[in-house]
């Protein structure tokens, strides 16, 4: 009885001691640029077993630490253990590294956050009931432009118990997930051939069967084997991949290793491999360089293209209903109204509009394809990531609005057109309307359109241009259809004063579009740029008024006024372009953010690592890929995401709302969009609480759809 009581008291004491001591022992250490901690997978240690503990690193933005082969420079994280007698630590289980280019060099390591588990062998002699302290003296080399060695002395108290182990309620999941995610050998066969020119590496096996893996990359354990900064060329085969990698210093000097070990990353998965010298298996090559990752669902073959073309056409049609196209619709509506009573003229105008749409779609697509071929992480709508383009576009919108307000006239007036007078200027106007529709509408990827563009960007140039062509046909189709249908045209009322009123009313969506673009510009270029743009807008408006004045005077001696106005306009536009081209053309990613977060819903900035960490905690995550220049995104934010039911749903589900802001260029976001078969925003991803694939929400949100998705995510 007394013995039992004392054991109980002892256990209580241990529990009390632990509860008091544990937080102090397990407190994270901030070493300057890293917050490090030593955490456990298991709640206690069983004699004669292996437990896993992990060193976690929260790394300051812009800084990184290193993998076991740090690449061209740097140094791997190292741990010096001080353990109780009989306890031994194994090697670090390294997470898959990321490439970190620094100038002409290439390093391998980790940014933001990494969990490095270590197996610890518990001796059979460990006594149940005792609490031991594991001490880790961890050395991190943490680098941004410069490198700083940082040191953390970490401790973790571990209780020994003689009962089946349970996961640690607080940190168990984190360590277990890191162990799951770490690259493992998955029965892959690897063969290499090495020469002074380089390394050829063929990997085959079940996980690689039938795949493409354009992002395949080999991280060697040895730091002298390959040229880390060199390009690794991938060739796909039916059963695997073959990589061709330029030689590093060892191979160059003829030191051919017996075997080649390392990690093969294929994008979202990574495997540990050990390659033996031998002949390259045929099953690992012969299918050429894999295309960039195809979207899930849409195949890469010709069926995929055919389907994508269909989607593109439907997407183009639907694009007409997207909020961003409304201002341009108003121009088209005004023009249609004017030509409705002259079928021939209406047809020509419709075709000119179609030509404007198609030429612009193809030009934009060509530029996008060229930029991507040059290795730039750009996506659909990329033109609006340049403040210079946005600034000029806002001035164009302003001019168009002023024109609709009859401040000045371009070519034939609406009244003139109504009398059936065709003119070249009128055609140019229709063509220009088409151009403007595409430039402004393109970033609002509509439903159907998004997967189509995703497929388009993975196709050879001809295939992608075909897809873009059909997108344009879809966008222009309603107008062309109306302008070719006398029956529909007859429904338009006869020309008259009502047209002038309509035109002036329709000027206001254009003013709205100009105001929106100015707002986007202010997020990209900041308030000094905004002041400049507003000044330019003033000059442009004044010039337009002068021009209109000279048109109305119609006296030859006043013609100089038109010339003067034109010069002023040019000066104003140049004044915007020069400072923007010099300084503000490419603000660094993250330096500005659009205020897309609503008042009700607290948001976090998106990062893949943060998503992984939150999922490890078992929380549902909603990621909003958005941009200030994406009107669909803004509408969704206001209509669906900023509503009280959605905020309540997030709270109930303990879900996290993350915003990935693509207003400015961001390669990481572009890549994630591509992984989901998208080339542009919006994209809404909902990750469930229990892991698994993310669910993609439609591009037009309703509060109900979001609430349902969040509720479902809490359960899956």
């Amino acid at each position: 009885m007394i013995a039992r009581l004392s054991r109980l008291l002892g256990a209580l004491g241990v529990a009390l001691g632990l509860s008091l001591a544990a937080p102090a022992l397990a407190a994270p250490v901030n070493t300057g640029h890293i917050e490090a901690d030593l955490v456990a997978r298991d709640s206690w240690a069983v004699p004669g077993s292996t437990i896993y503990v992990a060193v976690t690193q929260k790394i300051d933005k812009g800084w990184h630490t290193y993998w076991r082969n740090s690449g061209d420079s740097g140094e791997a994280t190292s741990i010096d253990w001080t353990l109780p007698a009989g306890w031994t630590a194994g090697d670090i289980v390294w997470a898959t590294p990321h490439r970190q280019p620094t100038g002409p060099l290439m390093n391998y390591g980790y940014a933001d956050k990494v969990v490095l588990p270590v197996p610890i062998n518990v001796p059979v002699s460990a006594k149940p009931g005792e609490t031991v302290t594991l001490k880790a003296d961890v050395l991190f080399l943490v680098c941004a432009d410069i490198c700083i060695p940082e040191n953390a002395k970490l401790e973790l108290a571990v209780e020994v118990r003689d009962e089946a182990p349970e996961p640690n309620w607080r940190t168990g999941r984190l360590v277990a997930d890191a162990l799951t995610a770490a690259p493992k050998s998955a029965g892959l066969d690897a063969v290499f051939q090495a020469s002074e020119a380089g390394l050829k590496l063929a990997v085959t096996g079940a996980p690689l069967k039938g795949g493409q893996f354009p992002e395949a990359y080999f991280f060697p354990f040895d730091g002298t084997l390959i040229d880390h900064a060199g390009k690794q060329t991938v060739e796909a085969g039916p059963d695997g991949v073959t990589l061709t990698i330029p030689a590093g210093v060892a191979l160059k000097s003829g030191q051919i290793p017996e075997d080649v070990g390392g990690v093969l990353s294929i994008g979202d998965q990574a495997f540990e491999i050990v390659a033996k010298a031998g002949t390259m298996p045929a099953a690992a090559a012969g299918m050429g360089v894999p295309a960039a990752k195809a979207p899930s669902g849409g195949g890469g073959g010709s069926d995929g293209v055919a389907l994508a073309i269909l989607f593109a056409f439907v997407g183009g049609l639907i694009l007409n209903l997207m909020p961003c196209v409304f201002p341009v619709l108003s121009m088209k509506a005004a023009s249609l109204a004017g030509h409705a009573q002259d079928p021939r003229e209406a047809r020509t105008q419709g075709l000119a509009f179609l030509a404007g749409v198609l030429v612009t779609f193809l030009a934009l697509a060509g530029a996008l394809i060229a930029a991507r071929a040059a290795g730039q992480a750009v996506g659909w709508g990329f033109q609006l990531q340049s403040p210079a383009v946005v600034g000029v576009l806002s001035l164009v919108m302003l001019l168009t609005a002023l024109n609709l307000s009859s401040v000045f006239e371009v070519g034939t007036s609406v009244q003139g057109a109504g009398q059936g007078l065709a003119s070249k200027n009128g055609l140019a106007g229709s063509f220009f309307t088409g151009v403007l529709a595409v430039v402004v509408a393109a970033p609002c990827t509509a439903p159907f359109m998004a997967p189509a563009i995703g497929v388009a960007l993975t196709q050879p140039a001809i295939g992608s241009l075909a897809i873009f062509l059909f997108l344009g046909l879809g966008l222009a189709a309603p107008y062309v259809a109306i302008s070719f249908s006398p029956a529909l045209l007859r429904r338009f009322p006869r020309p008259g004063p009502w047209m002038d009123v309509l035109k002036k009313v329709l000027a206001f969506p254009m003013y709205g579009a100009a105001a929106w673009l100015v707002w986007v510009f202010s997020l990209q270029a900041g308030s000094p740029g905004l002041a400049l743009l507003l000044a330019c807008a003033l000059v442009v408006a004044f010039a337009a008024w002068l021009f209109g004045l000279s048109q109305r005077q119609a006296t030859p001696r006043l013609r100089w006024m038109a010339g003067g106005a034109a010069v002023l306009t040019a000066v104003a536009v140049i004044a915007v372009m020069i400072p923007l081209a010099k300084g503000g053309a490419a603000p660094s990613a993250g330096s500005v953010t659009s205020e897309v977060a609503s008042a009700e819903l607290a948001s976090e900035p998106w990062s893949p690592e943060r998503v992984a960490a939150l999922r490890a905690e078992g929380r549902p995550v909603f990621v909003n890929f958005t941009a200030a220049w994406c009107v669909t995104c803004q509408v969704n934010d206001k209509v669906a995401l900023s509503t009280q039911p959605v905020a309540d749903a997030f709270k109930t589900a303990n879900a996290v709302y993350m915003v990935a802001d693509w207003t400015n260029r961001n390669a990481e976001i572009a890549q994630t969009l591509a992984e989901h078969g998208r080339a542009g925003v919006p994209l809404y991803l909902v990750y469930g609480a229990k892991g698994g694939e993310a669910v993609i929400l439609p591009q037009l949100l309703t509060p109900g759809a979001v609430t349902e998705a969040i509720e479902a995510a809490a359960l899956r």
């Binding site: 061209d72 740097g74 410069i146 060695p149 040229d227 330029p246 030689a247 210093v249 160059k252 030191q255």
Partner: protein, 200 residues
Amino acid sequence: MSLTRRLLVAAAPILSLAPSLALAAPAPAFSVKDADGKTRSLSEFKGKTVVLEWVNEGCPYVKKHYSGNMQALQKAATADGVVWLSVVSSAPGEQGYFADGAAAKKWAAANKAAPSAILLDPDGKMGMAYGAKTTPHMYVIDKTGQLVYQGGIDDKPTNKVEDIKGAKNYVTAALADVKAGRKPVVAVSRPYGCSVKYKA
């Protein structure tokens, strides 16, 4: 220097980094101003063993070896008739950049560094031609102008001063081999340290 080599050296910055050089091949020629403003080139050291040491005074790994190790190596080598050139390829604005020769000499004096010369390579041409990746990154060129060693300074790739003791110094070994008329046993090793701060 042959036309091809001249072209290669000139093209090096464009071809990004010339990957690591083949061994037992002529070392790339260079023509770089030293801390005294004098132009130094490889050809003037013909008949002498030359050590190239890439340096960045702010790098923790350089600091580790300048705790006395590097200076001792420099003194021993130069006393033996070896030409020791410390090369600074840091670009303006980057860590380790010296605004002028005076700044470089001031640093050398404060640290009792004893190279034969400090070469200032702010545009990174010489560094790129050699494929210098880290500070320190060491190269040994024999009397005939052949590159016989390239890589790390020793076999303990850490930034801890206490690791110098007990490390195998590859440069000392290579110099001993060259002096004895042998090819160095370890001719290539993995350089370690901070990245060379080339201009972006």
